[in-house]
């Protein structure tokens, strides 16, 4: 339980791919991830608050501030789910800017759209159902791209980063908010207990879906660590890549600029 499997994780371009701790056929991962998010979409926000004790809001706020978007900019929020980042960006870019909320999962995108409309956020927001590995946008389309807690669910992470680099404008930035490897002494052990005991229990009690939340914990352990992800961003063509550890490295915000 709780083994850090990052170093043994297979390459994203192998015939099989990780789905949590399992190895599954590449086509299967997309289907099974879709099933997870179809299952959790209804209670996604509630579970986020319960699982992170509300701290996910601070992580997202930090990401929004770090993006330093300006009025009139064009933003892409990939795997944007229920639209937390989109809502923050929509206010910052104003009526002259445009943000595209994109997700591969119909249930999540629909929930995000409804939630934004309920909050009165409209006019400068577009919604696009898209696979992050094959983005339906022209080269150099966006000033800023974010992907918040979405990259670990992508089948081919490097392909997704390559696509992000392609559609980012020269001088623009891509920001990856994702679970990472805890850096504080003693934290990994506590984090393991929490991830593999509390999270599945919360999933069972609140969302009636223990398996999806077990997948969440496992997929976090299979996510590349801070340096590995920074290297993947460099391979995608980003320059001046840096990252900021939050909550002792439980989460990291990576950023790269397109030269």
């Amino acid at each position: 339980m709780g083994n850090d499997s990052r170093k043994t994780a297979g390459n994203d371009r192998d015939e099989t791919i990780d789905f949590g701790y399992e190895r599954v056929a590449r086509a299967d991962k997309k289907r099974r991830v879709a099933a997870v998010f179809d299952s959790v979409a209804e209670r996604y926000d509630l579970m986020n608050d319960l699982m992170s004790l509300g701290i996910h809001r601070a992580w997202k706020h930090f990401t929004l501030e770090l993006a330093a978007v300006r009025p009139g900019e064009k933003i892409l929020d990939l795997a944007g789910g229920t639209g937390d980042l989109t809502a923050g960006f929509a206010r910052r870019i104003g009526a002259d800017g445009c943000i595209t909320l994109s997700d591969i999962n119909t249930s999540m995108l629909r929930r995000g759209r409804d939630r934004l409309l309920d909050r009165g956020i409209a006019g400068n927001v577009d919604f696009v159902l898209a696979n992050a590995e094959q983005l339906p946008f022209a080269d150099d389309s966006f000033d800023c791209i974010t992907i918040g807690f979405g990259l670990r669910n992508v089948t081919d992470k490097q392909a997704a980063l390559d696509e992000m680099a392609r559609v980012t404008r020269p001088g623009g930035r891509t920001i990856v908010l994702e679970f990472s490897k805890p850096q504080l002494p003693g934290l990994p052990a506590l984090y393991d207990i929490y991830s593999f005991s509390v999270l599945p229990w919360l999933g069972r009690v609140v969302a009636d879906d223990e398996a999806s939340y077990r997948y969440l914990a496992e997929s976090i352990r299979m996510q590349p660590d801070q340096e590995a992800l920074a290297e993947m961003m460099r391979s995608a063509g980003f320059a001046r890549c840096d990252y900021h550890n939050l909550s002792g490295g439980i989460v990291a915000v990576h950023r790269g600029y397109k030269p």
Binding site: L66, A68, G171, A239, R240
Partner: protein
């Protein structure tokens, strides 16, 4: 081997966010930042053993612990020298104690950018809270600021008055002058008395 001091990664982010908030609130600063886009400045604080790299972009400043490639200009000095040049604006870059390696022109552009940042609290609050709450909060903060400035200005006078009038640990100049005059008179009288005693003693000891 020396170990350089490194801030937690989130601290660089916090510094960058604060800096970009100021830059974003001032159109001229943002324009200057855009002009410098792609240029970098490395700061080495020798007393703190700390390195900061600032990279200008069209939308703000990126702050890092180190850069992949050498910065366009590198400044080395003590933290107080950096504060004088970049934040207080007390002295120019060329006359400062900072050691400059690289493009001086770029260093001067960065220095101008940092010293010219003009943060308008009212505009910032207005954009976030709306005009009415922003006005009240702004008035409150300005009032608190004015009180703090007044308190800072009158503190030495109040302290002197307390020591002079309440505790009597120090005295005023007029009181001091009168006291000093009394001391001088006492000294003069003592001198006269000593002289008279000496003359009387000489008179009684003289052979008759």
């Amino acid at each position: 081997m020396t170990t350089r001091w490194t801030l937690p990664t989130a601290a660089y982010g916090a510094l960058e966010i604060a800096l970009n908030r100021y830059i974003g609130s001032d159109e001229r600063a943002l324009a200057r930042c855009a002009e410098l886009s792609g240029r970098s400045l490395q700061i080495d604080c020798s007393d703190l053993d700390l390195t900061l790299v600032f990279v200008a972009t069209v939308h703000g400043m990126q702050v890092m612990a180190g850069a992949e490639s050498p910065a366009d200009v590198r400044l080395t000095g003590q933290s107080r020298d950096f504060a004088r040049v970049f934040f207080a604006g007390e002295e120019g870059l060329s006359g400062s104690a900072l050691r400059i390696e690289g493009d001086v022109g770029i260093a001067q552009q960065f220095a101008r950018l940092f010293t010219a940042i003009d943060f308008d609290l009212g505009d910032w609050l207005d954009a976030r809270l709306g005009p009415v709450p922003a006005r009240f909060i702004g008035l409150g903060l300005r009032g608190a600021g004015a009180f703090a400035r007044r308190a800072a200005a009158t503190l030495p006078e109040d302290l002197a008055e307390y020591l002079r009038e309440e505790t009597r640990d120090v005295i005023g100049s007029r009181e001091h002058a009168a006291f000093a005059a009394r001391v001088n008179r006492l000294r003069a009288d003592s001198e006269h008395l000593r002289t008279r005693i000496r003359r009387l003693a000489a008179h009684w000891q003289a052979p008759r």
